[in-house]
């Protein structure tokens, strides 16, 4: 017994505070939240516990998923995620490729492409709301004014005030902030490829393009997967930028995370909890296969 204590005691002592905290604050609360989402706690009296709540099964979910309002949020979330993902992958990959071979002032380019990552979404939202001002013609400022100045007037548009595609405009600042991060991931990928592979393909007489196409790019697919997962899961939780640029009440830019905040603020706790569960399911569908994949890859290594 004392031997067991000596063997198991210290590690348990070191790790158990964190394990208990995470068990309660992650898994415990996920369970409580799932329960709340199946009650009728949608009034202030019930939210504060003055009036009792009763169990209503999945009706909050069916109400949400059949309401055109929430469907609009889901549609926005898909559109935002697609634009955000395509944009960051495109710029991140292109920048890393441009910097792959020795470039003078590489450090300067790298640091400047990456710096927006250090700024909060709230702070960048301040300037992007100005840049994405919907005024056009005489009263235009922001990007619309810039387009006039460089003779690209036809590019002027009302940005995030468009009801159908407004959310795509909010993805522009998100792309600005995260492309540098995707670049850093890809650049580490490029630099991790053994130099011998390049030399071998040159000896075989491959052109530079052929070398990239058939030797380098295929090696980058694990990096691309990581980048898609990371950016994708950030995108699904989009909240800060939309709050900062638009307003929570703006129909054209709302997504589930915004709905959750609005519902919570009006004491629709059960509906807010249900939106949380829906978001969790979407994120889990993306993350769990990835975590399993990583854990298997680690075991093989």
């Amino acid at each position: 017994m004392p031997r067991n204590l000596r063997r198991w005691g210290p590690p348990l002592l070191m790790i158990s505070p964190s394990l208990i905290l995470l068990a309660v604050f992650v898994y415990g609360l996920l369970a409580v939240n799932a329960h709340t989402s199946m009650t009728d706690t949608n009034t202030a009296a019930q939210a504060t516990g003055v009036k009792p709540s009763s169990f209503v099964g999945l009706s909050n979910y069916t109400d949400l998923l059949t309401s055109p309002d929430f469907q609009h949020s889901l549609k926005n979330l898909v559109l935002y995620t697609v634009v955000f993902l395509v944009g960051t992958m495109l710029f991140g990959f292109l920048w890393a490729w441009l910097l792959d071979r020795p470039v003078r002032f590489e450090g300067v380019f790298r640091s400047i492409y990456l710096f927006p990552m250090a700024v909060s979404f709230v702070a960048s939202g301040v300037v992007w709301r100005w840049l994405l001002n919907s005024n056009q013609g005489e009263s235009a400022s922001g990007l619309n004014r810039l387009f006039q100045m460089i003779g690209l007037d036809f590019l002027q548009n009302n940005w995030w005030n468009n009801v159908d595609y407004g959310i795509a405009a909010i993805a522009i600042p998100a792309i600005w902030q995260l492309s540098g991060y995707v670049m850093a991931l890809f650049l580490a990928g490029f630099r991790g490829i053994p130099e011998e592979l390049r030399e071998a393909s040159q000896i075989d007489g491959a052109t530079t393009w052929q070398m990239y196409r058939h030797v380098i790019f295929p090696q980058l697919s694990p990096v691309a997967l990581s980048a898609v997962i990371i950016v994708g899961h950030m995108s699904l939780k989009a909240f800060d930028l939309i709050m900062s640029i638009s307003k929570p009440a703006n129909y054209q830019t709302k997504v589930p995370a915004i709905d959750m905040y609005v519902l919570k603020s009006s004491f629709h706790y059960a509906d807010a909890a249900a939106v949380g569960v829906i978001l969790l399911v979407i994120v889990a569908a993306l993350i769990i296969p990835y975590l399993v994949h990583i854990s298997r890859a680690e075991k093989r290594a």
Binding site: M14, F25, S120, A272
Partner: protein, 297 residues
């Protein structure tokens, strides 16, 4: 999230070919095009910075939209002093929040990481995966019961609540970074200390902690930056009277009846200065944190 065991401070290797000047003498269309593209992207990325700086120094005389992209006619500090008056109490509160939050979650993460990297028990991988999942969850899925718990425990809204939340929800990432680092230290080091009769706690304290400084820097910077920039917890667990700078900045920019972009842009710069300073001075450690698991929304 890459599970690399590369040294954290050098996540991106230098380009291999020794001499970048080698190609300088031979001009080629390809090279010129490459630099032109790099420079163009550089300018595009810097557009918001240009706007922030010039607008923050503009006075009322520059309000016309026709002058939107011009330099200020008269440079003035008025916006900056107004923004400082509005934000300085919140900036001070944010400092009081991020320092303890970063230190506590780093220490806990270091202990977890050490145990998980050395202690092989049945189910260790499952425990680690369950911990990792905690950093991917949308916090919206715990927010409602979290509000009730914090109220029920009578933890004051504002900085005290936020410190606790940043510590708890920072645990997965800090554990991940430390575990990856500790897996890269040679087993012999730990064994030698065991042979000398030291237990796990003693080994951790006198052998492992002293060589953990680089990863502590990475983790502290990471936690500092994400707590400083957090907005979601701030909105749910504080108010403009007791909240951090992101909340105060958002109120400054969106709350006023008459929108004053000069003041809000000076405010945005003020609120970003601490994290930008860390990025400039300790860039390689910042990137180390990013590479080992930048996964917080």
């Amino acid at each position: 999230m890459t599970t690399t065991t590369e040294p954290l401070t050098a996540p991106i290797k230098d380009a291999p070919t020794a001499n970048p000047r080698a190609g300088r003498s031979r001009f080629s269309a390809g090279r010129t095009l490459k630099y032109a593209a790099l420079l163009l992207f550089l300018l595009i990325v810097l557009i918001p910075v240009y706007v922030l700086i010039i607008t923050s120094f503009k006075g009322t005389g520059d309000a016309s939209p026709t002058r939107a992209w011009n330099l200020p006619q008269h440079w003035t500090m008025d916006n900056w002093s107004a923004a400082w008056t509005a934000l300085s109490p919140a900036i001070l509160r944010t400092v009081e929040m991020v320092i303890p939050a970063a230190i506590i979650s780093s220490l806990l993460g270091s202990m977890n990481g050490f145990v998980l990297s050395r202690w092989r028990f049945k189910g260790a991988d499952l425990v680690f995966t369950l911990i990792l999942f905690g950093m991917f969850i949308p916090y919206q899925a715990v927010m409602i019961p979290l509000l009730k718990i914090m109220q029920g425990a009578h933890i004051p809204s504002g900085i005290p609540s936020l410190i606790i939340l940043h510590v708890i929800y920072g645990l997965p990432i800090t554990t991940l970074i430390f575990r990856n680092y500790y897996q890269s230290i040679p087993n012999e080091l730990i064994e030698a200390s065991r042979v000398d009769g030291a237990g796990m706690l003693r080994t951790y304290w006198s052998v492992v902690l002293p060589i953990s400084v680089p990863s502590f820097v990475v983790v502290l910077i990471w936690q500092f930056t994400s707590a400083w920039n957090d907005f979601l917890f701030a909105v749910f667990f504080s108010s403009s009277q007791n909240g951090p700078v992101t909340l105060a900045l958002n109120n400054l920019a969106n709350g006023a009846l008459l929108q004053n972009y000069g003041v809000s842009m000076a405010g945005a710069l003020l609120a970003s200065l601490p994290t930008l300073l860390v990025y400039v001075l300790l860039g390689k450690y910042f990137i180390g944190g990013l590479m080992s698991g930048s996964v917080k929304g």
